[in-house]
Symmetry: C3
Subunit: 453 residues, 3 copies
């Protein structure tokens, strides 16, 4: 049965509620690119799916980078002279400049001010800021909070540690019939941000759970990693085998109610690019396809010229284009259960195409085979034919070993499901055979790969 | 002299009247995919052009198909209790479900009803229906006729035979200077239907007559065949030599007053596709080019993946899109003499391009040759040049052995006739030579062919 | 420093006035395709730039042509019976049909009339006409002048000589680091016409002067030649080395106030075509790119199929499309200093792209290099990045040895200057290296060249 149909039978309402509940559980954790926040997040995911957790020591060289010190934080605040916590990490973990070095001092507002980050345009929202690779400390607060700070002395405390430790990431591998892999990657390093981080992380977890135990054509690799340094570390440790990734998706910002956006891989015409473009157009009129750019999420690393992997990025609202992005307003009200479920469904629909996109050979290529005597045609001549029969004619006509089902879909304008059913029916009737060892485009990919690596 | 000019000198008015008279003679015959109807049709064509008639015995395997039994019919009716023929084959041969097995019985209306076919939307028209490959019997009648049938007993008679015999088709071959062939194919299996069948058949006959006896670059093969099974039978019997077909046209529905439509071959960029696209755009603003689909007329067989022949389909109104299609309203009033003549003219214009589309080599490729001293340029400098001189510059500039005249036409936007005249003039002046053995695109075709067969 | 920046620092106002003064000095000279007019023009240019002047004897065969006799003229007039010069070469050198053979006779108006050229639509303007290759004589005059001629006898005198001599052209060669050449070609054969001839000639002279003495990647060749026969003579004498021309521009009609037009080379996608298209779009919204046609200025010869050099043509108003073209209205009022300076600037901007359009190799191609520790990234995470950082990411991502900076500009939409600065900065930081011996597209060109020659 097609994956999509199976998902739909589970009921998207239930799935959406489960996804949302899962995201809600993870929301309060103060994650960063290292430390106990991401560790406990991965432990929670491990309750859902088998997950191998890796720890990479501080100082490990990973390509041009070095794994940084591990950061942990217990508490942080700005306290008024009267002892009141005016800015309090315990209320919102965004308040601390992520990766702040420890500080405990009393200082006048004038000395504190350079360490304060606000969004003047959105005076009630707290921004999210980081300083991973330059040692610094700071507080993020709402602009109104800052305006309310009177001149005077403040007790400033960030009770953090920045010490040798590890970078932690999680990996879930589902072996399929082929060693060729589909990569699903999401970052797990943002603190209390819902759409940017938790939406992708939740959908990836549930997708792995949904695929788990199935008989699949491809092997699937799910990565839950800190952004940038995590992807770099994983690629450095898996450089030799990364080439097995034949298709990939970075998932991010897929919980809000914006229209779907798919950002193409660097190649621009990889099978994943074409599958995603088809599926988005088929399932949503307002969806949009975005050209590759080298700025973004971890597709930046997968699509670096040395790898040039066919990895795109699935989003709803595009990061950076909505005001809630990287602020406290990207909270649990900004993501909705039906949106999370719809995003999971879109992923499954794309995988359904990849799993079934084969090339076939018409075993009766000289003229049309007589479909009528196989009950694959209309019975009374003179009438027109339906889409199902038309799909059979298209599949027969283009199954010359060169065209994949997706090629046929693109040329005929007939939905993939109908074309696939036609191919199944024709195969059952002995009229088609699958191209041996066909991976639907991998050959082309290997060639391209060799040129670029 | 260009073919088109010769045709125009004959006078399209006369040609149109002759075409229409010919179609009118053939109209009453009850044709089917086998039997005496198609036989007498071919005999009538034989009075116009040399025609080789082939008979393929029932039971002959042709690729995935088998030649069916031969069908013949003498009479058919539904008679009321009072002896009145309420539905009468002698009035209109569409009344019988084509290929009906014999029946003679008296039965109540309730038992007869499942055997009746009507068009509720067009209550005065009789539909055309067939049942070639499933033994059945039936009557086609106007919806009003059916509504007028009272309950009661009816005498039902179809005086037909369905027995071992032959499938008959006709073939006219005009040898040219090259063995490479242009195929003109039309179906000859529809009974009293004028646009769908007789228009193509008449234009093909007159085109063969017009080309006959001329010194032609290509050999021409005209096929008058029963749809589907006829094309399959011909291809099965000519599998080894079918590859000689370098260009082809299926002619159908070219007698009505709709705008021209050309449906591309499976290849989509074959020389015939480009020639037809150019000629239609040049001769008619409202013409349209339609992408290939595997459903349609016999281009389905010619363009099956094992053959992948460069055969397109020329139509005026596209079959299936006009209400008269496959009904009694597709009669002699639906086709008009000027439309038939205009369609013949369009075919001739396309062939004129194919016949003359050569690649040349500029024998003076370094800088422009001095056209002025050959009286091929304007005399006073400082003025602009006309299209004729411009055409000479284009032909010289692109005659590098790679570009055909049609390439030059497409790039320059200058009409083919002007470009061709320029090439002739430059050749006469020793400035160009034809690429030896040039077939204007056949090389590319052969390569493609090898890949696909 | 980029060439364009250096030019801008000179001040376009000053440059424009100098260009205009130079054109004004050359305006009165009666040039033709041979003779003392072009000789003195070249001598004047020689005061600005080093110029090698070549003399090719009459009768020298140059490809399909032969160098014509040399034409010189001292005086010409049509004199009324009362001795008044009604048409006087000394007032305007356009009055004589260029290349007129000598004549001195008295004749009635009826016999004179076939030798008179006017523009009835523009009754006050004098047309420019030539008769280089057919011996003839004639006068060009305003239509009103002609209408004023009463019947009667006229003394007609053209005091010219047409004798064995030479064809003269000038050449300025600036050697660069590579033997590969950029060709700048303009015609120097038109008499008192300002936009058509003097604008291109002046800009070319100042461009050579501006480039002179600089350390340049390419060698530059400036040709000041009589139109058609001069280009043919030069190509005939430099046939073996013409292939060094990797990029070229014909300059003409670039002094009026029309929007820029760039006519592509015959190849259509040569680096010069892409560079010009980019620069025109970047610098002027109203600019237009025109497809190649084989009619025009000397790109006709450079783009003949035997050479197929990548030479385009830069214009403001397209020749032949403005009424002043080839009339006395194409005078010193028709061209303006700011327009001349702007055209020089456009040339420099195009050359700036060619000079700097290299392919690089990312030396850290696996994942992104860590820009932050090299101070090439923003300092605080969470904010968006600027165009300068974005340009670095693009350059790193596409520097796989295949893509030139212009490729990156086209794909990213970021200005060339920004991309180039990013490449410089990354190179200085050891992250990029130039592809050895890279000529930014010449490899592709050489291949193409071999096919065509």
């Amino acid at each position: 049965m097609p994956l999509l149909k199976e998902l739909d039978e589970k009921g998207l309402g239930v799935v959406g509620r489960d996804l949302y509940r899962f995201a809600s559980e993870l929301y309060p954790i103060c994650r960063s690119i290292t430390g106990n926040g991401i560790r406990s997040t991965l432990n929670r995911i491990q309750l859902q799916i088998p997950l191998e957790i890796s720890e990479v020591p501080t100082g490990t060289p990973v390509f041009d980078w070095v794994v940084p010190k591990e950061w942990n934080i217990r508490d942080a605040y700005i306290k008024a002279a009267n002892g009141e916590r005016l800015v309090d990490f315990r209320k919102c973990n965004l308040h601390v400049l992520n990766y702040s070095v420890p500080v405990h001092a009393t200082m006048p507002l004038s000395k504190l001010r350079p360490h304060l980050f606000t969004i003047p345009d959105k005076p009630d929202w707290i921004p999210y800021r980081t300083s991973y690779y330059r040692e610094d400390w700071g507080f993020c607060l709402s602009h109104n909070q800052m305006l309310a700070l009177a001149e005077g002395e403040y007790e400033v405390c960030i009770d953090s540690t920045l010490e040798d430790g590890h970078l932690t990431y999680g990996e879930s591998y589902l072996p399929g019939r082929s060693r060729d892999e589909v990569l699903i990657s999401c970052h797990a390093c943002h603190p209390s941000l819902a759409n940017d981080n938790l939406s992708g992380l939740s959908v990836a977890t549930f997708l792995a759970q949904f695929l788990s135990g199935r008989d699949l054509r491809y092997s699937y690799r799910f990565l839950f990693i800190p952004g940038t340094i995590g992807a770099i570390a994983w690629l450095a440790r898996n450089r030799e085998t990364a080439g097995r990734i034949g298709h990939g998706l970075v998932l991010t910002c897929i919980g809000d109610d914006g229209p779907f956006h798919y950002k193409k891989s660097r190649r621009g015409n990889a099978e994943i690019d074409r599958a995603a473009a088809y599926v988005l157009a088929e399932h949503s009129e307002s969806s949009q396809i975005v050209e590759f750019t080298p700025y973004g999420y971890d597709e930046r690393q997968y699509c670096s010229p040395g790898f040039n992997l066919p990895v795109g990025c699935l989003m709803r609202s595009v990061w950076g284009t909505f005001p809630e992005y990287h602020t406290s307003a990207d909270n649990l009200e900004f993501i909705r259960p039906p949106q999370l479920a719809g995003s999971l469904r879109m992923c499954v629909a794309i995988l359904d195409v990849l799993e079934n996109n084969r090339r076939y050979r018409n075993l009766s290529p000289y003229c049309e085979p007589q479909l009528g005597r196989r009950n694959l045609y209309r019975t009374t001549g003179g009438n027109t034919i339906g889409t199902d029969i038309n799909a059979r004619l298209w599949v027969l006509n283009l199954s010359d070993g060169e065209h994949s089902l997706l090629d046929i879909v693109e040329r005929s304008g007939i939905p993939f499901a109908t074309i696939r059913e036609a191919a199944d029916l024709l195969s059952q009737n002995g009229l088609l055979s699958v191209i041996p060892g066909d991976g639907g485009g991998r050959e082309a990919w290997h060639e391209e790969k060799e040129k670029c690596v």
